[in-house]
Subunit: 313 residues, 2 copies
């Protein structure tokens, strides 16, 4: 199979980052200590102007600049988004037009928090076609608009976008080694967005954490096993941020050493579809992640879609 | 590249087919003669129970039965839908669960009327992976819910679903030869679903027909040229039904002989994402299409996404 390389990564966080002291009052009220216990210190809350399209475009421009790639050379644009779904049209064609990616076909997918990884695997599929050599995969979510004001969820979620330029058979960039995709539709009713437009969980947070931890662990194990690897062969686990509880469950189920596990949930909240690339960008900039590092990233999205990718930086 | 074959096709039309005499009154009122001139004699109007999921499942079961394929053997389920978008979860995981397609990953795409063809190309991409050999591509739309009651659009659109089982490198079934995908995001604002949930065109019908005709013709020509073919080498043109005006424009732009052009718009209306497979099923059952026939199908979706596939039956 043709090899997918990520040659440019760009992210966007809203101008307004809100810490726990500044967060609109919760109902019932929480002490600052209780809020801090949740494990998120700050989250971006997008303004009216910072919608899914705007954030996606900013991230895309940064990714293209880092890859030193011209938008006109893109063969496709795939955008994952769950928080601002429209009937018609999709968002991706608007990104395509705004970037001037004239040759690119463009479309949206859902997949909730699994959107970035699913999008990457779709790109991998298209890159097997001799006609396509370069594309853009985006994840952009303004999840805070899907939260009941004052709910505990407003502590956890944040808004963000991320974009990656993907190319095939080039000698540079991060290399996709393998991926695993799973879906368990029997869990489709555990959370939905109600008629009021707000996320409505029908499962206790503890159960959700357990289910997510189990799913992330099982898909990670399957991917490692197929590639003849163990956790010892991986430099970093960089999973979807989810919640601190999900992270704890994943570590428990997988037996993952905490020093190998990275996520920036504390700094930006759960930025849903964008969480893995936003986290990657964060730790690359900090110098924690280095070229050549072997990384395993797993994500789970309400649906219930869970997935993992194995790659070298 | 691995070859995609369609080994089973299933469709679903609502129980209630409404002819022009039975159609709820239009505003302003139309004579029956005026209504007949639009070119749609009947359209399915789905009941509350016949939602996107229900219709998709019925079509899926028929497709699996025709392919003589067990749902448990499916590697993936891809569902195109624009008319009942949800934030979370996607519909495809619910189809996966209801069918018992335990091994399959599942997700939704948008793409409006281009959804079936885009879905087919995604399947083609996944089938290039040695691990995947079989999947299900669905298109299911209850478009009549997106139409202002009494509007002229209620004359044109109908509800339907279709499903195809796709397999790779098998000796049976319809064979995908090549495909072409294009997007022109500059046209993204010509029609949208407003806050009332109804389709709101911002372009004159005549202009829309011309644009759609031009787009369908250009993508069809590009596909033929790349494959060293002309219209003379094609047995049938079976485009997205759209409207009678779109069909006329396509024929004009492409110079397509009317006797080679098939669509069942008159019988079911514009069934949006499902139109090409619904039309295929219709003409296969009529005995008009025969195994081995070489067919070109093009579609255009509000977005603006246009695409074409070349295949033998």
């Amino acid at each position: 199979m043709a090899e997918l390389r990520i040659t440019g990564l760009g992210t966007y966080l809203p101008e307004r980052l809100v810490n726990n002291r500044e967060l609109p009052a919760l109902d019932p009220p929480h002490t600052l200590a209780d809020m801090d216990k949740v494990g998120v210190r700050a989250r971006g809350i997008a303004s009216d102007g910072e919608d899914v399209l705007f954030m996606a475009l900013c991230a895309a421009e940064r990714a293209l600049a880092r890859a030193e790639v011209d938008a006109e050379s893109l063969d496709f644009v795939i955008l994952a988004n769950w928080s601002e779904r429209r009937y018609v049209p999709d968002f991706a064609p608007r990104v395509q037009h705004a970037l001037g990616a004239r040759r690119a076909f463009a479309f949206d997918i859902g997949c909730a928090c699994a959107g970035f990884i699913y999008g990457l695997t779709l790109a991998h599929g298209y890159l097997q076609n001799p006609r396509f050599s370069r594309g853009l995969v985006l994840a952009s979510d303004r999840s805070t608009r899907r939260l009941r004001p004052g709910s505990r969820a407003t502590l956890v979620f944040g808004d963000a976008a991320a974009a990656v330029v993907v190319e095939k058979d080039v000698a540079r960039g991060s290399r996709l080694l393998d991926y695993e995709l799973c879906t368990d539709g029997s869990q489709n009713e555990i959370m939905e967005v109600g008629a009021d437009g707000y996320l409505n969980p029908k499962i206790k947070q503890r159960e959700l954490n357990q289910l997510a931890g189990r799913s992330l662990a099982s898909v990670s194990r399957a991917l490692l096993e197929r590639n003849g690897l163990t956790l010892a062969d991986i430099d970093w686990l960089l999973p979807h941020s989810g919640t601190a509880g999900v992270q704890a469950m994943l570590a428990e189920h997988l037996g993952a050493p905490p020093e190998k596990t990275l996520n920036n949930l504390a700094d930006v909240g759960n930025v849903t579809s964008a969480s893995i690339p936003v986290s990657l960008d964060h730790f690359i900039k900090l110098g924690k992640l280095k070229p050549g590092d072997r990384i395993l990233s797993a994500a789970v999205g309400l649906g219930w879609q869970y997935c993992a990718v194995l790659y070298t930086l």
